[in-house]
């Protein structure tokens, strides 16, 4: 069976859906093939125990881009639109962070945090401007690239002399130096450090953690939202938008290879042997999977394969899902606060110490944890009176020294629960069922090489005009007709839709230029 499409999307993650929908809206015949039985990639809601459902991977919405919402007329229903971060203290003296306001920390810290937040937000806004642009190419004389580069320089300069200097000083720095200089409260230091290292293979003392902090802030001014029905509802809405635009979506169709003929793509072939033809193939898979597994290194040139090979994409964040027969008791937390975001990172040293073993291929004996109880505001996720906990736990390195055996998984899960127990001693007796997704599981279930939820580390050397690699950062890949639209491309991960939208723009723009 062969069909001729204007574009074929490989993978129906949220970026793939956004890209497909936008291409279809401009009149393209688009086919989207998804390996799993539901679209959404790592942004899905699924049952992990009888009657208990949870966002399987991504669980908080930081950065769904307003332009994406507007262009696709999305109105995601939110269980909460602006969550407070509650940074737990062992003695119940929790610190609460919302926007530029901190409560529960030392008085100086509140003022200091406001100044810190104002500056970081300004820098984050600058970054956000570039989230929704195709990054400029370096070393060309083309007007569009030069204009974007010039604009970037101008925007940095426009921060003013002092702020520009600060921006350039901070952008490559580590978060630990900054929090130690600004704040005295260990819990606040820990919480800010945690936000900077979430989802990375970095500790608070690692260079580049200011950038990752800004990235998180850049999405929606640091606002954290939780979609009703879990992350799957966002994907469902995107899928509906794509279908409405005319995209043909076929699930349960894993693509075996992208067909290359005489140096350009001509279609895809599925595991089932189906063949679909198109001169434009857009991959929502990560760069390594796309180029090495689906295309094959031999269709690329050596310099390009070498760079892709060195793209760092080893996940470090695990997902822990607990089915609970009731809410555990957190000392010092009011009942309504169970709908907020709870963080266990009592100080910056604790976070760094959690990271230390990961450097040597070991998991943290005392991990850092981000906890939510999605069922608290969305009763449909658990049987009546019961609850689910969805937690991101670090560090669980993808390349665990001795592999993720059942024993290693049990050990990490136990370590996580021991840490939570310090704050909620009754958690263990509430557990009905549990599920731990290590990066190895995330790789297997969501087909992400290395199980890294950003498809690749977000560091300065893999950022903006060099993401995923130098020379191929404008969504066009080294084989003619092949594009990348996932988190491995600029700007990176998070349920933002930015990469998918930019990729669609790049494809359509190229057509116009031709």
């Amino acid at each position: 069976m062969t069909d001729k499409y204007d574009a074929i999307l490989v993978g129906g993650g949220h970026n793939g859906l956004v890209c497909a929908a936008l291409l279809a809206k401009s009149g393209k015949q688009v086919l989207l093939l998804e390996a799993n039985d539901q679209v959404g990639g790592a942004a899905i809601t699924r049952e992990f125990a009888d009657g208990y459902a949870v966002s399987a991977c991504a669980h908080l919405l930081y950065q769904l881009q307003p332009v994406v919402r507007k262009e696709l007329k999305l109105k995601p229903r939110l269980a909460s639109a602006n969550m407070t971060t509650i940074a737990l203290d062992e003695h119940g003296e929790h610190v609460r962070i919302l926007g530029d306001t901190v409560t529960g920390a030392a008085e100086d810290d509140a003022a200091s945090y406001r100044r810190f937040h104002r500056r970081m937000s300004r820098f984050a806004r600058l970054l956000r401007t570039y989230f929704n642009k195709i990054p400029p190419r370096l070393g060309t004389k083309e007007l569009r690239d030069l204009a974007t580069l010039g604009r970037l320089g101008f925007d940095v300069r426009r921060l003013g002399k002092t702020e520009m200097r600060e921006f350039l000083r901070l952008i490559g720095m580590n978060i630990r130096d900054e929090v130690v200089e600004r704040f005295s409260s260990p819990v606040l230091r820990g919480a800010v450090s945690f936000d900077a290292v979430l989802g990375t293979h970095l500790g608070p003392r690692s260079p580049n953690t200011i950038l990752t902090y800004l990235y998180r802030l850049a999405g929606d001014n640091g606002r954290i939202a939780s979609p009703e029905g879990g992350m799957g509802s966002v994907s469902d809405e995107l899928a509906q938008a794509a279908r409405d635009a005319g995209v043909t979506i076929r699930t349960g169709m894993p693509v075996k290879r992208i067909v290359v003929d005489n140096g350009r793509v001509t279609g895809v072939e599925t595991d089932g042997g189906d063949r679909f033809d198109s001169y434009t193939v857009v991959s929502n898979a990560d760069p390594k999977r796309t180029l090495f597994d689906l295309i094959g290194a031999r269709h690329m040139e050596t310099g390009a394969t070498h760079r892709v090979q060195h793209f760092r994409a080893r996940g470090n964040a695990a997902k822990l899902h607990l089915a609970l027969d009731g809410l555990p008791e957190f000392a010092g937390m009011s009942r309504r606060e169970y709908g907020e975001r709870i963080v266990i990172a009592p100080d910056e040293h604790y976070v760094e110490r959690a990271f230390n073993p990961a450097k040597y291929g070991e998991s943290s004996p005392e991990p850092v944890v981000e906890i939510t109880f999605p069922s608290f505001r969305d009763a449909r996720l658990a049987p009546t009176g019961k609850h689910v906990m969805s937690a991101v736990v670090q560090y669980a390195p993808y390349g665990l020294k001795d592999g993720w055996s059942d024993a290693a998984r049990a050990e990490f899960e136990a370590a996580t629960i021991r840490v939570i127990e310090r704050y909620a001693p009754d958690i263990t007796q509430r557990i009905v069922a549990s599920e731990l997704l290590t990066p190895a599981d995330i790789e297997r279930e969501f087909h992400i090489t290395g199980g890294h939820w950003h498809h690749g580390e977000l560091t300065l050397d893999q950022f903006l005009f060099v993401r995923p690699v130098c020379g191929f950062a404008q969504y066009r890949m080294p084989v003619d007709g092949l594009y990348l639209c996932g988190a491995g491309a600029h700007p990176g991960g998070g349920v933002s839709g930015a990469a998918g939208r930019n990729a669609a723009k790049a494809i359509l723009g190229r057509e116009k230029a031709a």
């Binding site: 090495f292 050596t302 310099g303 390009a304 394969t305 090979q309």
Partner: protein
């Protein structure tokens, strides 16, 4: 306190003992870690051995990689610009390989030793690049420089000498072909290749048998005025043959820092080695683009008037009565056999078309005083030295 013996900083080739025994001038240089002779008696005599009898050059330091595996052909085909599927077992190919920007990393020869088994020889070392190129291919790359001793036997009497040595059937061997022989119980590979543009062969065997081979060869060549030669004589011969040398006529792309100092194969006159019919090879996109837009540089072979060698000279073109520097000489020599003042140079396009005339600024010194001459030069197409015996099969015995 004991004084430890300091090991020799430079390695000795498997033929070192024989070279030292013949050496009369003690003039050596370093080549990829090995000590190698500049000359053994006098470069001029050695040069005439290549052209009139036989010169024997030790090329053991030549970098060699063994490339095997199910994907060896596909791997090499992607690595180099020419179509390797045309190189059958028993054949040798001259090839260049480029980076993604279509700039030459190096040139060398690829021996198709047996079905699916190759040896790549080059002046420079390339293990890192060859490894990077192996991503996604089922291929094994083994550096075997020290495991193979090699001698270049070059000149009009080589066929006779090697036949004397007992290599029966060598007459059938065509240029760029290779054959296997038995040498006193050891495998000996002979390829009809070389760097002199003359009739000649290269002998390859295990280093353990190197000295025995040398002795047998010199015994067989006793009455043929055969000489061991150094690098100076070879250099003169290779310029006559119009062959390029890395670091002289081009810089390996990985060795440059400044932009614009590299060269593409098209700019080096090696367009005939670039096969755009192949769907993919390193540098293909960039070279296709260069072909469309035009190259920046052109390699020229120059026949220069007068007898003063034009080493490192500027090349000028005369335009509208003005002389404009358009390039420079990269290799130059007086060619005794052609009786020509010859050079290889690089000029900016569109200059340097075959048959056009350029000017070369030559500085020379006579008893301390410097003089300068602007010599007229003609751009020529063919190698300066290309005797029929080079390709005659079977070669004339003499």
């Amino acid at each position: 306190m004991t004084v430890n013996e300091v090991p020799q900083a430079r390695l000795q080739t498997p033929f070192y003992s024989r070279l030292v025994a013949l050496d009369t001038v003690n003039s050596w240089h370093e080549w990829k870690g090995y000590t190698c002779p500049d000359e053994l008696y006098c470069a001029e005599t050695e040069y005439f051995a290549i052209r009139n009898s036989t010169g024997v050059f030790d090329l053991s330091p030549m970098t060699k990689y063994r490339i095997t595996g199910a994907d060896a052909l596909a791997y090499l085909d992607r690595l180099v610009t020419r179509d390797m599927s045309k190189i059958k077992p028993g054949r040798v190919a001259y090839a260049v390989w480029c980076d993604d920007r279509g700039q030459v990393i190096d040139d060398g020869t690829i021996f198709h030793l047996r079905e699916g088994e190759y040896r790549l020889c080059s002046q420079e070392r390339h293990f890192a690049w060859l490894q990077a190129a192996a991503i996604g291919f089922d291929v094994s790359i083994v550096e075997e420089t020290a495991d193979v001793a090699a001698l270049a036997v070059q000149g009009p009497t080589t066929y006779s000498i090697l036949s004397n040595m007992g290599l029966d059937g060598l007459g059938e061997l065509k240029p760029f072909g290779l054959m296997y022989f038995d040498f006193e119980g050891t495998g000996l590979m002979v390829s009809r290749t070389g760097f002199t543009g003359d009739l000649g062969y290269e002998l390859w065997l295990s280093p353990a048998r190197a000295e025995a081979l040398w002795d047998a060869l010199f015994a067989a060549g006793k009455n043929y005025a055969m000489r061991a030669i150094g690098a100076h004589a070879l250099e003169q011969a290779r310029i006559e043959a119009g062959y390029l040398a890395a670091y002289e006529d081009f810089l390996p792309a990985h060795a440059t820092v400044r932009t614009g100092r590299t060269r593409s194969p098209l700019e080096l006159g090696l367009g005939w080695l670039v096969d755009f019919k192949k769907p993919n090879f390193n540098g293909r996109r960039a070279l296709a683009e260069e072909k469309r837009r035009g190259s920046r540089w052109r390699l020229v072979k120059l026949d220069i008037e007068g007898n003063k060698t034009a080493n490192h000279s500027y090349i000028f073109a005369r335009e509208k009565g003005k002389q404009e520097a358009i390039g420079f000489i990269t290799s130059a020599t007086w060619s005794p056999v052609c009786k020509q003042n010859i050079a290889i140079g690089t000029v900016r396009t569109p200059h340097g078309k075959v048959g056009s005339h350029l000017w070369v600024e030559i500085y020379y010194q006579r008893e301390m005083h410097w003089s300068r001459v602007m010599a007229r030069a003609e751009v020529v197409d063919k190698p300066f030295w290309f005797p029929p015996r080079r390709s005659a099969t079977p070669p004339d015995p003499c």
